[in-house]
Symmetry: C2
Subunit: 242 residues, 2 copies
Amino acid sequence: MIPISPAIILVRPQMGENIGGAARAMLNFGLTDLRLVAPRDGWPNPASETMAAGALDVINTQVFATLEEAIADLHFLVATTARPRGMVKTVYEPREAAQENYRRMQEEQKTGFVFGPERSGLENDDIARCHAIVTIPVNENFSSLNLSAAVLLMAYESALAGHTPAEPTLETNGGLPASQKNMESFLSRLEQALDENGFFRSADHAPIMKRNIRNIFIRSDLTEQEVNSLHGVIKSLAEYSS
Amino acid sequence: MIPISPAIILVRPQMGENIGGAARAMLNFGLTDLRLVAPRDGWPNPASETMAAGALDVINTQVFATLEEAIADLHFLVATTARPRGMVKTVYEPREAAQENYRRMQEEQKTGFVFGPERSGLENDDIARCHAIVTIPVNENFSSLNLSAAVLLMAYESALAGHTPAEPTLETNGGLPASQKNMESFLSRLEQALDENGFFRSADHAPIMKRNIRNIFIRSDLTEQEVNSLHGVIKSLAEYSS
């Protein structure tokens, strides 16, 4: 069985609000395995409830005394750190870490991302228990990421790693693109109305001007309903001007 | 001049905490153009300070009465929505929206991402002012993203769109990989110590066992210093056992 999602392991988290925010971020992207190592204010923590927005009711939250116990059943662990720590360890960016994580999950490995306390981050002894490091590429002049923000980015990348990106789609509310017949009927009517109003002053330039106007509307990938609306627009304008 | 970053436009934001969180998320990824349209509790808002963690001192924050005024100088706008709205509009995922945004910034277009109020999201009239829609691919059963979380993801993707991902690197604290000579000296010593302790019971299997052991250490890409440490480990173990 392929595990559904990596575990999120928060080591000595301080603020209940951040645990709640992390839980909400996890569930937003389908992650449900939260492990707390020695949370400062104990567990459960009422301060987490508001920020969790109900996520803690769904997520499986476990509390452990030590990181060693929290990760005992896992096979591959990535430590999040803000800066290099002088340890011999592969350093990933989030997207690449999520891809490696996904590859290992497909091999039925159980995996986890490990996050340190708000103020200080992971201790080197925590990092030494992990197989790799992930560093989020932040603004060097303002690099302090909120704990739940760091969890959000890793949860987002984890979810995307197993997700084929959708091509940009044109939302049409179910409407088909306009038929060429309807489009042509609209454009002819527009040209005729403009002609009657003396828009094409020079017969020489009229073909170019018509082509330019035609391109504006063709480019817009109009739906049948939109072309019908434009018919009405022309009708209304032409009546007003006459 | 290429604009440094897209504007982040928050339409009728309700909670100061979320404005502060959005500002922090923006600056984490180098975005500095924040535009507030009719914030519920006015501006400045003391409730934003803690969550901003100082970001509001650096970010350029402007307040407008209407979305129309807020976007007057911009060329390309993407509306964030949680669900389709029945409008004829291109729908992107965040990464693809950020790439399109980056492409346009390189053409010297000024761009922006537009976010609605916490509870209700953008109104259809707001969305109609935007050129495209971005929808963040969240868990369908828990799709309510915190406002500052949505800003964080778009800021992160915007920053990455102009960023060549770094290949995973092995952090070595400046140390070179071990020379093959030192590696060979360690492996020979290890084999010799194991031999003396009767580890290779069968002469037939000894070559395979030696190769397996060798592979464990070769695969680890050891630094010179690590090999020296392992020399010490073997010495210590061999002394203990004899």
